[in-house]
Symmetry: C2
Subunit: 248 residues, 2 copies
């Protein structure tokens, strides 16, 4: 394991060299979950936490958690557990949360309003620095201290604020056009709420959130449960059930 990577911790060096030994996608999708659990535990006063305990708090298998964390390096102490503060620092560093990330939100409609007012972004190092819409009637409206600007100003704002992440909350029909504009403005990560497939250059990452799909997956399981009425075991009320989560 990389025992000499201990020195190169977040706060210290700025231009620290090496890209991480490319973590498995499945792992990085779980890191935010661990981070949240750690924050909760930190407030609880705990100084260290065992893999078992943290795994329980994050809702995963403890072996999986240890393997995930081992990819970041060796930040635990055998016989003791993980130092909560240090681990938080490490994960935040790996996720790039030590630097505030500017986000722009395009489409200030029903959903956009909710997102604009959501404090769960700011508390994780994300700051919405621009609200954009094509509807002239919405331009100028102030939401949580931020005025809605016209979409045509995107390129300008993106440069001014060094925006790398964009959120699309427009109707599906406009999403591709908006994505193109975001890309043109230099955005390299997009979170898309519109139910459609986006086509973007290879260097741009897209993540999609589609509530209808989630419901349809649940519907399938409902359908399945319904057709299996005659299940031999009956209902077994286990403590922690089957938790499915987003992630690619």
């Amino acid at each position: 394991m990389s025992q000499q990577r201990h020195g190169s911790t977040p706060g210290s060096g700025s231009g620290n060299v090496p890209a991480f030994p490319d973590l498995p996608e499945a792992t990085i999708a779980r890191l935010p979950e661990y981070l949240r659990a750690l924050h909760n535990l930190g407030e609880g006063g705990s100084d260290t936490i065992s893999s078992e305990g943290l795994a329980a708090a994050a809702g995963v298998n403890s072996a999986k958690l240890r393997k995930d964390l081992s990819h970041l390096g060796s930040y635990g102490t055998r016989g003791v557990g993980y130092d909560v503060a240090l681990l938080i620092e490490q994960i935040e560093y790996v996720l790039g949360l030590d630097q505030r990330r500017a986000v722009c939100l395009v489409g200030v409609g029903n959903l956009g309003h909710a997102l604009a007012g959501y404090d769960g972004f700011a508390s994780r190092g994300f700051k919405i620095v621009a609200l954009l819409d094509a509807d002239e009637a919405k331009v100028g409206e102030v939401i949580h201290g931020l005025a809605v600007r016209h979409i045509d100003e995107l390129a300008q704002v993106a440069v001014e604020e060094s925006i790398a992440i964009g959120v699309i909350a427009t109707p599906a029909g406009a999403a591709q056009a908006v994505a193109d504009e975001l890309v043109a403005a230099g955005v390299t990560s997009i979170l898309n709420f519109a139910p459609c497939v986006l086509s973007v250059p290879a260097n741009v990452d897209v993540r999609k959130v589609d509530l209808a799909i989630e419901l349809q997956i649940l519907s399938f399981h409902e359908h399945r449960k319904a057709t299996l009425t005659a299940l031999p075991g009956g209902r077994s009320a286990t403590g922690a059930g089957n938790q499915e989560a987003v992630g690619s």
Copy 2:
């Protein structure tokens, strides 16, 4: 393959026997995507569609799509493609979308408001039949023709409306309690927007949507791209980039 399963199609029989040859989870997570693409194509006038075409529309590999569809049975015609209408019917049947599914929404705050007004649910066979909140000030408020009711009425409404799916849009602190109440009321599928792990009986399905996690994953990739400034190939502008999607 199962050539005799053709007769047992959706519309016809009601109490049709067999549970599907349990589809892979990865497949069922993609079926809604195919379904949306098919609906778009259907409006476009196409009568049949090739796996290549549908795969492109859904943003997946064509071999994967064929394998996914082959799990439902053989509904394509070699040399021609898939009959759009038939395939839609099939997928909707498998997902259990042929019957309207009643949904209740708990927590009518910022996010809850947006969800309550979202028409993307109804258009997919889901109907929000109850809005519930603990805040007396919100009880009675009418949103899109539906009045907010007090959470204490959950059990009653759940039975009246045969609610099997519940959506949680309350603060994280209240989510577990709400989940317990939903389970007690007979709900067997939960879509959770609160950033926390829910503990439920084994027969209950939970899916989580956490926007902060999505952003953190994007942040990681931003961080990675930033540290890799010296990438040999430069930016290769491929047509369809890397599309990550939700799903477990």
